[in-house]
Symmetry: C2
Subunit: 243 residues, 2 copies
Amino acid sequence: MSRSRAAKARIGQDGRVASTDRVRPDVPALTIGILGGSGPQGGGLGLRFAAAGHLVLIGSRSTERGQQAAAALARPGLRIEGAGNATVAERADVVIIAVPWEGHRQTLAALREPLAGKIVIDCVNPLGFDKGGAFALAVPEGSAAQQAAAVLPDSTIVAAFHHVSAVLLADDAVTKIDTDVLVLGDDRAATDLVAALAERIPGMRGIYAGALRNAGQVEALTANLISVNRRYKSHAGLRVTDV
Amino acid sequence: MSRSRAAKARIGQDGRVASTDRVRPDVPALTIGILGGSGPQGGGLGLRFAAAGHLVLIGSRSTERGQQAAAALARPGLRIEGAGNATVAERADVVIIAVPWEGHRQTLAALREPLAGKIVIDCVNPLGFDKGGAFALAVPEGSAAQQAAAVLPDSTIVAAFHHVSAVLLADDAVTKIDTDVLVLGDDRAATDLVAALAERIPGMRGIYAGALRNAGQVEALTANLISVNRRYKSHAGLRVTDV
């Protein structure tokens, strides 16, 4: 993997720049692109990052769909723009992958160049559904995040935001989302940056939860949270205790 | 699977018997057997259930080792006895499997008869370790719990207690363990009973988290908690929010 710009940054758990490296990203100033931003998870995350003050770029398969999705998220004072996935990948500082699992590999493979050198946050959950509910799908690479790493060798992949309820994200009446965000990756600077980004959303903490090889179970755990929600009529999230 | 005694019981989330079924287990009166009780996870759970008033039977490969492990857990007023695994399987009302993953299949296969008709709680995490830390092992059946179900067709398998810190369990100074216990299984009465059992330990809640086919990621998530503990010098647990 090429050494990315991201790998040169060092940001502490509290969002403070903690090292002597020259490139110190100003987290609140980052432009956040969301591929698959027309879906509920991507759109909801876009809304929250825009509410936190970020310029958010909503990407979709076509420019028109991206613009429609951005228009649907428009709120007074928020900066949300829509475009095609390639344009969003090009313009954004950090890119969140929120496409359906079915199109994951193909979408990413087409964006290798614009995503080169960037931090790419994968929040895709490879799940199947039947009458028994949700279940984890087998992924040849081990996880969606590892597939992203295989398809995007010039980007720095971080897995995060798998368990955040799309319903809560989209609900304007919800001002605080009571959940920790498990952040996984092989690059310390990149996972620190994504943890700091998670903490831009009120109620969320970013918690480092292991290397990319341990992303599969975190993605699959979404099936369990769906079971919890079905049983308890909840929008369940997770808190890590003793941290 | 034969219809077990467990399948006839109905216990609500709050531990209250909630149905008209005839067999209503008195949860506080249950004798709890622990196979692999000489290990830290099993021994720690045994200590906590004994402290909650249960008679606890610590099983090991030999009678002598079981008795030694029970003696090590002895505290004034607690009822903890040691024996060989087969004796414990025979005598206990509910049996917790806490053996090392390496011996999991073989240990259970030898106990099919004494475990028939019983609720068997599997808390085994199939993990590997290398210099990068812990990682999930591939399990042919999908998970340790599903392997238990395959090997013990006459028992009712529930997966639970994967994420409870053995260090905290064993620490007499810790009087409350701040974690939810994810409980998985295909039999409602059995998962309700195990959730009620979890709540016998101060600080714990039992949360139903899906069918047995979704146990693999819950077991594997222990690798992530090990990463959390390493990074934050913690004894991490999980809380499910909005439940």
